[in-house]
Symmetry: C3
Subunit: 401 residues, 3 copies
């Protein structure tokens, strides 16, 4: 069977991390999200994988993935329906939303055993924010209602489908939605009136990575579920490691470093001396954490450097960032209320009392920079030494005061 | 015999520490000053102890002390005479000024053996600042002169009396003084003309805790006089402890911490990793000193946190304070002159070349805050991230620049 | 034979280091440059050494050197010719430019064996910046051309001569040059027409210390050529020392310090705890590097202190400097271009991507000070706490913002 992964979304809500990478390349420990999908598909025996991408990400995808095909989604038509329209299959196909994380191949394999059309149903606590599934007595889908005020159930669309090629005819009858997108879920509601669409229920960990702090959360989940520790690095004497830690090959950890697991320290990273790596730190690869630096519950991506006298807590730092000596990130409001973040122009509560900053790829901060909680710094921005960053900084902006 | 401890003073000169606690609750190592008084009285066999307090501190005292009685001093009448007026006793009583520290019960027990009225005489180097005792040939009191320009001797009123109830009649004849207070010492001068008041001389450590830096001094004295070290805490490997140190129960000290005694680390405190605790540090209880933090000659009170990359020297920090990452306190002027402090509206030299800040209870500083020498920050104040605090900050004030 | 060392230059290009010391007192590891000259002369058997100095440095020289004579150069006549005019010798003499470093006595001894006049010829890659030697078929000097646009060879004047007293007569015929100096090289060109001046070629390490960053370079060379490690200090446990390190007498190194050689730690210096000393650090003597401080490729002179939470990279710090807690020195531009420095009013590229600051003697920085790359801070300057130093600071200036 063919499988299609929808990965054409612009990922605006995940900015600034998506300034320099497609949304599905958000890392979970060492690997980008999309590689988990591909790996699970392979494990279920599916080899013919096509990823639906945005034309602007073509080069990035081709550089970072191999043994998969790509189709580009038309730029003038948005939505999951548009994504499906860019695919082609005869008989039937498996479809996966690329920005959803389910940490196991089991559910995918289960779809392959279905004769009928099928959709993943996930029970969540906040169904209002998703497409809610309405089912008949037999448990089959009758309707999908997007973000209802009064959800009829807490069973929502989990973002995996097995569909016969009939879906294309329903899609042709589907109108563009109020928010201007062609919705696959609308086509499914039409299809459900005439065909059987089974709802395959799932109750394990399911995560929609929609906001930048979700990157912290999903990595936190992954660390909480580490089954073992591993130490392939070069660890000097007088390094303390407590709790679970994955330390990959060619990692150098200098004396006086204190590590409290669970943590993930990716290959070729350099730590210490005298640094403090606290629980839920993920350094994906080639990350440098230097002398007298403290990192806590943060994801720091490949090639980034926090070399001297910094505190980074509850933050996400994309690739090739350099924080000047003494750069500090605040992660707590004075009033200890939930930290707010600007998402697509709106001020949104993160639901977190402790939340630091989101720093895009290739950012450079000067020495002694102060960054307030919930701040986003766009890729390629420069922050002047000694500056207090008290508002979001745009892509490539030079922030002085 | 009944004992009365005078503890109704407003403690303005000890602000901001007294913003959230009565003056007599200044800590000496683990214990507030008043508990030393009570303990010494108990050791001398006195059980009937009454503390003269200000009505506004009633709740605080009742919460923090047990097995003692309280009387409140009238708010419209000030002074030690007014304090005495609020007491009642028949025969005779022992009276102690609550803000004076004498680290032993011996002198108190000695008063109990006196048949006559008695007053403590202490020899000091700067009698001008105190009530100076004038004595006759037999060494008995003839007069007390408050802060004389030309002191007749260096023997001053040490703040402990044994008095017969006759004192009340002399008090009735005493007029309110120029500074608007009813002075017990004026009544004693009257009494001395007609009755014997013995002067009991004392030459040991006697300390009047009148200015905020005295809190450092008195704790320094206590540490210098530690008779032993004690380590009841959980100390990890690679922790260096030099000199005398009291480490109480349930203290956690993480690797890489370097402690130079004498120091006192109160119960449930957390230290490290890689922090530097220098001589004359007192952490009363539940204090957190985090990674790459240096503390020197400072008193930090219960529940306060200095979690990341800070330097605190020659300072007093009251309870439940949180210093943001990288908050630094300067403790030396460029000209290396004595640091000055505002005391009740006047600029006063502390007599110390090295003096940091006085931070009231519940203060929060943002990250990367800079605090200049001799600064006072009122309780509940908030300091904006990156701010340079170059003037005193009021109670509850939000200081931005 | 008499030897003369020319050391009267004002050293403006080496400011602010020369604000408080003559140029020839730039340290190389533990010793000032001029002491190397004297030592090498002694090794070649020369005991009659006279140093030509500026009158304003008389006291400094007399205090710091013994067993040598001094003559002062007239203040109204500049240049190497003027320096020679202030000397007196009969027969012949050896002359050395004081600001040139050749780390061996061999070349000096070689000059003593010459019967003829002789001049040192050094092969360099950038002859344009020096006096270029023109020679005849026999390899003897015919002319010296100062800073030629099109150098006839890459053999330059290395700053060592053996000269007969005839030179004085040629000097009398020499005119003051366009830049207003009496040039010894002009006199030599005249002499070369009538007398033999041998060119003694040298191909080893030769270094003209003309710009402040050269102080880093020459010390770097010295460290790269350490032949052994030495540890005479008091090194506590849990101190890591990698690579070559010279640790002199009465040095104290506290636990948790991490040293990566090659480094030189001069006598009576104090390091740590938990500090990080990286390659090419030179602490000449009595230097204090405190807790959680990182030093890299920097020369720090006698009595200076970097006590708390600082980063100092690629910098030169003169004597008796105190950096306030958290003072940070940036050493990299955002654009990663070569750092520029103001030299005698001109903006000059240092040719270094990483270059920090040059801090004159007796400077005090407040806490939390930020210093940008390539900045010069004049001797006795004061930097206000929290200031961002983004321009050069003058001698004795108080810099606030």
């Amino acid at each position: 069977m063919k499988a299609f992964i929808f990965a054409a979304g612009a990922g605006e809500r995940l900015e600034p991390i998506t300034h320099t990478r497609p949304k599905v390349f958000v890392p979970i420990l060492s690997k980008p999200l999309i590689k988990y999908h591909i790996e699970y598909l392979h494990k279920c025996g599916i080899k013919d994988i096509t990823i639906v991408i945005s034309p602007k990400h073509k080069e990035y995808f081709e550089k970072h993935l191999s043994n998969v095909s790509f189709v580009t989604q038309q730029e003038d038509l948005k939505g999951t329906g548009a994504a499906l329209k860019s695919t082609k299959f005869d008989d039937e196909a498996l479809i996966i939303y690329g920005d959803v994380f389910i940490p196991s191949e089991d559910i995918i394999c289960k779809f392959l055993l279905q004769k009928d059309n099928a959709i993943l149903g996930v029970k969540v606590e906040n169904p209002k924010e998703y497409g809610v599934l309405v089912t008949n007595n037999e448990g089959n889908l009758t309707e999908i209602i997007e973000k209802p005020e009064n959800p009829p159930s807490n069973l929502i669309n989990g973002g995996i489908y097995k569909l016969s090629s009939d879906i294309f005819s329903y899609l042709d009858k589907t109108k563009v939605s109020e928010r201007g997108e062609l919705e696959l879920t609308d086509a499914l509601t039409l299809m459900a009136k005439e065909r059987t669409i089974k709802v395959i229920q799932y109750e394990g960990f399911w995560y929609d990575i929609g906001r930048p702090w979700n990157i912290i959360d999903v990595n936190k989940w992954a660390l909480d579920n580490l089954e073992f520790s591993k130490n392939l690095g070069n660890v000097e004497d007088n390094v303390k490691i407590k709790g679970k830690a994955i330390i990959e090959e060619d990692v150098e950890i200098k004396s006086g470093t204190y590590i409290e697991g669970p943590v993930y320290i990716g290959r070729k990273s350099e730590i210490g001396p005298n640094s403090y790596i606290r629980p839920y730190t993920v350094l994906t690869e080639k990350v440098k954490v230097g002398a007298s630096v403290e990192i806590k519950e943060s994801v720091i991506m490949e090639g980034s450097k926090v070399p001297h006298l910094s505190y980074v807590g509850d933050s996400v730092i994309a690739e090739d960032v350099n924080l000047g000596a003494g750069t500090l990130i605040a992660n707590l409001r004075f009033d200890e209320k939930d930290v707010k973040v600007n998402i697509k122009g709106k001020r949104v509560s993160s639901g977190r009392k402790k939340l630091g900053a989101f720093i895009g790829g290739h950012v450079r901060t000067g020495i002694n920079v102060t960054i307030l909680p919930g701040i986003k710094i766009g890729a390629y921005a420069r922050i002047y030494p000694g500056a207090v960053v008290n508002r979001d900084v745009g892509y490539g902006e030079f922030f002085k005061a």
